[in-house]
């Protein structure tokens, strides 16, 4: 009996190495798994939106088949973006007070504004202008609950004359242009939250917002590739290889820029070797070896970089089937790698002592509010929402009006 008790105690001991202040050697860091999910999900939103703007603003025609899918992906993840934070805070009974009593100067509270702006003024509006004509047509053809939903979404405007549609296109285009800086703001904000903590050498870094934006673009495009391939597979349709190749190309470009900036960040850290460098070095070599060197760098960056890069050169000689496999592998690797990157940022910053001379550890639990089961549930929620949305808004049974979002010039000149 005595044996049990002491062994249990040894198990429950806080684990640390080196010089750690007594009040830091607790068993859990303050920010756990859910806070890792939060920048991951917001990043996917921003990235998927930028993917959609490639079509609308930058007129990349081959990407048309994924335009709506990527906007809906952004929306589905956006709807879940606050959940990890709210679950982390607890107290669902007073969570609404965040909305009711907004704080104007707290950086943490600014997320409420950034989020509301992005969801209400950008995403929903762009989707509405794009879908308005379809809603009108579908609401006349469909009965039952979907019909009611479509009718509600027309907001009672049934005008689908050519002039009205042209105006829709123009407004959608303007919103899309406003949307790009907004998407950067959304995720740059998350990077700012970490980058502005100057007392923490792992976080305090002006490049942080930029790194966050770039990795968000990479992960968002990868998610769109993943969703597009998965959806066509489920529907047993033929993939549009041209679209996939172009997505792969943009994924490659984004990855190159992301990789360069992150490498620059590391070169800068290593060369300037500031006060906290020893602990950072130790973290990278020992504590975060699997998530940083293996997860983030190897799986998330180098493997996709080599695969996608060589495809850019020898695409002609690779068969469709092989390219499909490569794109799917790269997208999945990147999704894992960017997740590892978020983990490294959020957890890494909490793993070392303020003395910069010791490190703590953290064991991810299965159950509990910050356990990985909870994380898995929160991460599958956007996919469930997306499935419902695809059923309603990307249904194969509902023919779309087929206007092309990027042909806004004609529309603009018509008005």
């Amino acid at each position: 009996m005595a044996l049990d008790v002491t062994n249990v105690v040894v198990e429950a001991l806080p684990r640390f190495e080196g010089y750690v202040y007594p009040n830091e050697s607790g068993t859990h860091p303050l920010w756990g798994f859910l806070i890792v999910l939060y920048p991951y999900i917001t990043g996917l939103v921003a990235g998927a939106f930028i993917m959609a703007s490639l079509v609308r603003v930058f007129r990349v025609k081959p990407l048309e088949p994924v335009y709506r899918l990527s906007l809906l992906t952004a929306l589905a993840f956006m709807l879940c973006a606050t959940l990890p934070l709210l679950f982390h805070l607890g107290h669902p009974e007073r969570s609404f007070q965040i909305m009711i009593t907004p704080h104007l100067t707290s950086p943490m509270a600014i997320f409420g504004f950034v989020y509301a702006w992005y969801l209400m003024a950008v995403l929903l509006l762009e989707l509405w202008f794009d879908y308005r004509e379809d809603f009108v047509v579908w609401s006349q053809k469909t009965s039952g609950i979907p019909g009611i939903i479509y009718r509600a979404f027309t907001l009672g405007v049934t005008d689908i004359s050519e002039k009205a549609i042209a105006l829709d296109l123009k407004l959608g285009w303007i919103i899309s242009i406003v949307g790009i800086p907004s998407a950067f703001l959304l995720h740059g904000y998350v990077g700012f939250i970490f980058g502005s903590i100057k007392a923490n050498p792992w976080w305090g870094n002006v490049l942080m917002p930029i790194i966050f934006i770039l990795s968000a673009m990479v992960s968002g495009i990868a998610l769109c590739v993943f969703n597009y391939m998965f959806l066509t597979w489920v529907r047993r349709r033929k993939l549009d290889m041209r679209c996939l190749d172009v997505m792969g190309m943009y994924l490659f470009y984004a990855l190159v820029i992301d990789f360069t900036v992150e490498a620059l960040d590391w070169i800068h850290r290593v060369y300037s070797a500031e006060e906290g460098f020893h602990v950072i070095e130790y973290m990278a070599k020992e504590k975060l070896f699997y998530t940083l060197s293996i997860g983030q760098v190897l799986v998330g960056t180098l493997i996709p970089l080599v695969l996608l890069g060589s495809l850019q050169i020898i695409r002609k000689y690779v068969s469709d089937a092989a390219r499909k496999r490569i794109y799917f592998t790269c997208a999945s690797c990147i999704l894992v790698g960017v997740f590892a990157m978020r983990w490294n940022v959020v957890m890494g910053g909490q793993f070392f002592s303020k003395s910069l001379r010791g490190v703590m550890s953290y064991k991810l639990e299965f159950a509990g509010a910050e356990g990985w089961l909870m994380g898995l549930v929160l991460l599958s929620l956007p996919f469930i929402i997306l499935t419902v949305m695809i059923k309603l808004f990307l249904s194969e049974r509902l023919p779309t009006t087929g206007h092309v979002p990027h042909r806004v010039d004609d529309a603009v000149s018509e008005i």
Binding site: V5, N7, L125, R132, V157, A164
Partner: protein, 149 residues
Amino acid sequence: MPPQVFRLILLTVAIVGSYVIARQLLTPPSFRQYGFYRGEALAEHASHTPVFAGRKACLECHEDIQKKLFKDAHKTIGCETCHGPSSAHCADPDSAAKKPDKKNTTACLRCHEANPSRPVTQKQINVKNHYSSQKCAECHMPHQPNEVP
């Protein structure tokens, strides 16, 4: 004005309007009374019954232990540091459910597990190498750590 723009403006007015109304109705009345929080919260916190009774409270019934404790290395440590919050026990000492924790080894380790950032006067052990199969109280008297049982 084009109909879709007009509807959107209406919708915006409706959303902003309902937000303003919700703010009126749902903002806690004592919010901003003193600062950016509910004024009532102060009274709410003050009304909680303390779970710690303090060292003096134990004196009444456990004077012998107090005396022992004061003679030795642990004299500066409060009883509830090791025994946990015990005000419920003070109020109802006979209740078995409210008994303070007795065999709390974790409590010892909170102060004695080796950590170089602790003062040297606070003796340190590495619990894994320090008779870890037995309980601390088998070899040390918690109230008189200098003595040998």
